[in-house]
Homo-oligomer: 566 residues x 2
């Protein structure tokens, strides 16, 4: 491609309303065009990067014998009603509209239900299994905010794959081979070294669900590495307080009346207590109606995913203000374990273990209990649990070594449905004995446009984008300096010769200053830059520089070719 | 691909509610899955056909130096308001929804306005022109009915291309080269011989707009060939009555009162007149308010596109009942040229030319005038026009040779906007003198899924689909008959060998009856069938048959390879 023919142009500035670095760079370099927040068109250079990413993903999914297809954007309400997911209260990112006759239609934010419905037409017997299908689909999600550029859009491209198996064992084989395929994908995309398989919070099947998280400052997630090297999503990371609670001699229990105190800091100041002597009690209501008291040290937060696992209770929600008043007999803000109502279960996080002379709510309006001690003022629980949200400085409970935290972006996820969805949608096969059984389903996503955003974000430098060879829109930026006939002739010849080799070349044939050409080459992030000038022609060489290096080399044609085929 | 691994299965029956042959065959063969009326998923075989079609189109668009990109499905209301096309009264096939904050969004049924808006960011100077961009985009159109399978969908894939030029001349060069590229596309898709460039009715720029129509019984259009071989859309085809009107001696003018007569046939019967002695008068109101009387012979209809051209009036609509009553002073159904109101313009179609003793409405309730003659009872017009809708038997006015009619499907269209849209959207460039001028725009579509439907519809036979080599999902259907080791070994070897040659093979490795395999090969429409059986192995040959032929041949490997590389 000749730069003179490429209709997009680079720009020194990005739109003022664009806060994400990936979008700023991609817009400045002419890769994408912002249609509205979270909705981007992919211009020729961007389209080429996307297709390169898709092709890598396609090749790797094909190694799993997965079959490519393409589902529809328009979706039927009835399918989603079978699983209760049409309801905007359950799925709050639907775009919906109506056919002319008033029939409701949805625009695909996911394709799980339609895929299952379609597969029901074809899969009959255990002989048809295992099998899997995948697609590259444009998903629409009505996100409230969309400020992360192409890393989180209202319209984005996803590779979604679905596997069907006869049983958990057959499922697991596919699941594991998919993990390996995903690793190969992220390696080929140039982010393999910073992409980690994490244990993810997947509801009922947490233990079988994983995410692929790429460490990235612009990511919206936090992942946590335990000392043996396993990564977890923050939501399910184990954690332990860095130093045991200080044990000191019991002081006399007191209830203190305090008015006009707002917030923990003010309370601690009024009570002259360090935060490590203070506890926080939250009241949750579970499905079925049981309310429980949940206690952590005041410098921690409760992690609800961990709490659900620990308590074995589902549908946990913070109790309503009304329930809190009724249970504690006090205004909001005074719940605690002193003067505990009868018949209520209390769950203590292990951050509270060993605390002495601590503060807790007195379950009386304006009253806090201080110098509280286990065994004397409150019952010592049989067990302390780990349901606090891990934070910097915390230890891995298994080894007492510090946890490592990193901001990250989820570029892939793999998920085991078990037979949950098959049961909801009556998706069965006939086994060897002629019995109908529910299909074991798995779902496997890769955010194609998100991965492009993460790469733009992570690998770029102060001069612009930096694409890995595998996905760059063009591998070589050929800059002709000046318009001398001999220079033009040499540049044109090299352009043809590299293209004949199958190398994609962006040929800067413009009559522009060298500085402008070099700045564009850098902003566009083309991996290899080759300069043809009067000087290089005279010396029968080319000036070669890698995007990621600062020094250029004088190389002859053979050397250049060998670099590009390395 | 092994048939045993392909998850789709063929079926002897299609869904009862599917009336279109293309969809019946594509569903039975497992190429598509119906999500709802007019909305189809493309399963692995269908997806391969689609991609093959897209690749052919892509290659030909690239010869025009057009640049591929991909716009967004979600679109902004404001862009469409600039051209008045957000209004559901103007564009009645919008799907619309809202962002969480209440902002209206549309789902792309076209991308003209967003493309222009995007290009405004990049095109500045005459040096940037000419240029063009294209995309393969999923369009959503809220059609009232969708019964033509994949030939007219609510969700479908289109290649849309847009060209920008400095002036009409530069535009025309691109336009003509696009016509040639489209011809190459349809040739490569195997429908070149039955696809014709037709003059299309394109509103203000009719003379510069064309369609590509493929003759096809399932098509929704009719095209008309004039004797010199030019095709027109029915809407703009010239026509002439087959034989001149019979001239006979004037009879006495009469006005006849007739009650309880409904319809032309009943009227003619009551009056004992042949239809060739009867005229039909319609009253149209133009933009600006002028009402005109429009007269055709009763066996013809008025074609409004031709009428607009002939009269030079825009916004022509049938006059309201109230206006008709006011103008004629009579009830509906008695408009005519007898007792004509003053100051009204009358346009006569040439089907009326030379009529004598004819019937017309008397502009009096229950009254018809008969034995009307020009020059005596009504003014002989200075000119007769051609605005009737052409029908079978009509002549080409230029040569008096019969017109040829054919049902057809529009597979492509090319359209000149002139500077109309650029003016509405303020899309300008700077010319060589530094002056701002409006860009000349063109738009060029190919219905990708529709073309697939037309091919499925047209080329199929009673046994199933028939794909041309260029777009078949697999070129060879390799059927292994029986499970003898020597047969399996020979079939596997051929499978590998053909794939090594780059030939896409669907290998029927199932343990199934020969008849079932042959029926599937035919239904699936794979162009070349190769059979490996105990007999062929013994004779060191393969049994080869083309899908379009009935006789099979015994060929050796060399011969088979030469057939497949021919």
């Amino acid at each position: 491609m000749r730069v003179s023919k490429l209709f997009t142009k680079t720009s020194k500035t990005a739109p003022a309303d664009e806060v994400a670095k990936n979008a700023q760079l991609l817009i400045r370099a002419g890769y994408v065009h912002k249609e509205m927040a979270g909705v981007y068109a992919y211009l020729p250079l961007g389209q080429r990067v996307l297709e390169n990413i898709k092709q890598i993903v396609r090749e790797e999914m094909n190694t799993l014998d997965s079959q490519e297809l393409i589902m529809t954007g328009l979706q039927r309400k009835e399918l989603w009603e079978t699983t209760g997911r049409w309801d905007d209260e359950v799925v709050d990112i639907w775009f919906k509209s109506k056919l002319k006759d008033g029939t409701d239609v949805g625009f695909g934010w996911s394709h799980e239900e339609p895929i299952v419905e379609m597969l029901k037409h074809y899969l009959e017997s255990y002989k048809d299994l295992p099998m899997s299908v995948y697609q590259f689909q444009t998903k629409l999600r009505n996100e409230v905010r969309a400020k992360s550029g192409i890393m989180r859009g209202r319209e984005f491209v996803m590779k979604d794959m679905y596997s069907c198996a006869t049983d958990a064992e057959q499922h697991e084989l596919f699941y594991q081979s998919c993990i390996e395929a995903y690793k190969r994908v992220f390696d080929r995309l140039g982010i393999g070294e910073s992409t980690f398989v994490t244990y993810a919070s997947g509801g009922a099947f947490t233990q079988f669900s994983h995410e692929f998280q790429t460490i990235c400052d612009a990511g919206e997630d936090v992942i946590v590495k335990t000392s043996e090297g396993t990564w977890h999503n923050l939501e399910i990371s184990p954690s332990k307080i860095p130093t045991p609670n200080v044990q000191d001699a019991p002081k006399a229990y007191e209830e203190r009346e305090l008015k006009n105190i707002i917030g923990v800091q003010a309370l601690l100041k009024a009570l002259e207590l360090p935060i490590e002597k203070s506890t926080k009690t939250l009241i949750y209501t579970a499905e079925g109606g049981e309310s429980i008291f949940v206690v952590v040290r005041s410098d921690y937060d409760v992690n609800e995913v961990k709490l659900a696992t620990v308590t074995g209770l589902s549908g946990l929600k913070l109790a309503s203000e009304e329930s809190v008043r009724e249970l504690t007999g006090a205004a909001i803000g005074y719940a605690g374990v002193a003067n505990l109502p009868e018949n209520v279960r209390v769950f203590y996080d292990d951050s509270v273990e060993g605390m002495t002379n601590f503060e807790t709510g007195a379950n009386k309006t304006h009253h806090h209990a201080v110098n509280v001690n286990f065994g004397r003022d409150v019952v010592l629980p049989e067990q302390f649990y780990d349901f606090k949200e891990a934070k910097a400085g915390d230890l891995d409970p298994a080894t007492d070594e510090p946890l490592e935290f990193a901001k990250s972006a989820e570029v892939g996820n793999i998920f085991n449905f078990g037979t949950q969805k098959s049961e909801a949608m009556d998706f069965t096969f006939t086994n060897e004995k002629g019995e109908r059984q529910f299909v074991h389903l798995g779902s496997y996503g890769i955010g194609i446009t998100r991965a492009m955003g993460v790469i733009a974000e992570k690998l770029s430098d102060e001069r612009g984008l930096v694409w890995p060879d595998n996905i760059a829109p063009y591998r070589v930026y050929l800059a002709q300096l000046g318009t001398d006939e001999k220079v033009v002739t040499a540049a044109e010849k090299l352009y043809d010769s590299l293209q004949d080799m199958g190398v994609a070349v962006l040929y800067d044939d413009r009559n522009a200053r060298p500085g402008e050409k070099f700045a564009d080459a850098d902003l566009l992030g083309i991996p290899h830059r080759v300069v043809v000038s009067a000087r290089t022609v005279d010396q029968s060489v080319f000036e070669y520089k890698k995007r990621t290096e600062t020094e250029s080399l004088a190389v002859d044609l053979e050397k250049l070719k060998s670099i590009l085929t390395a």
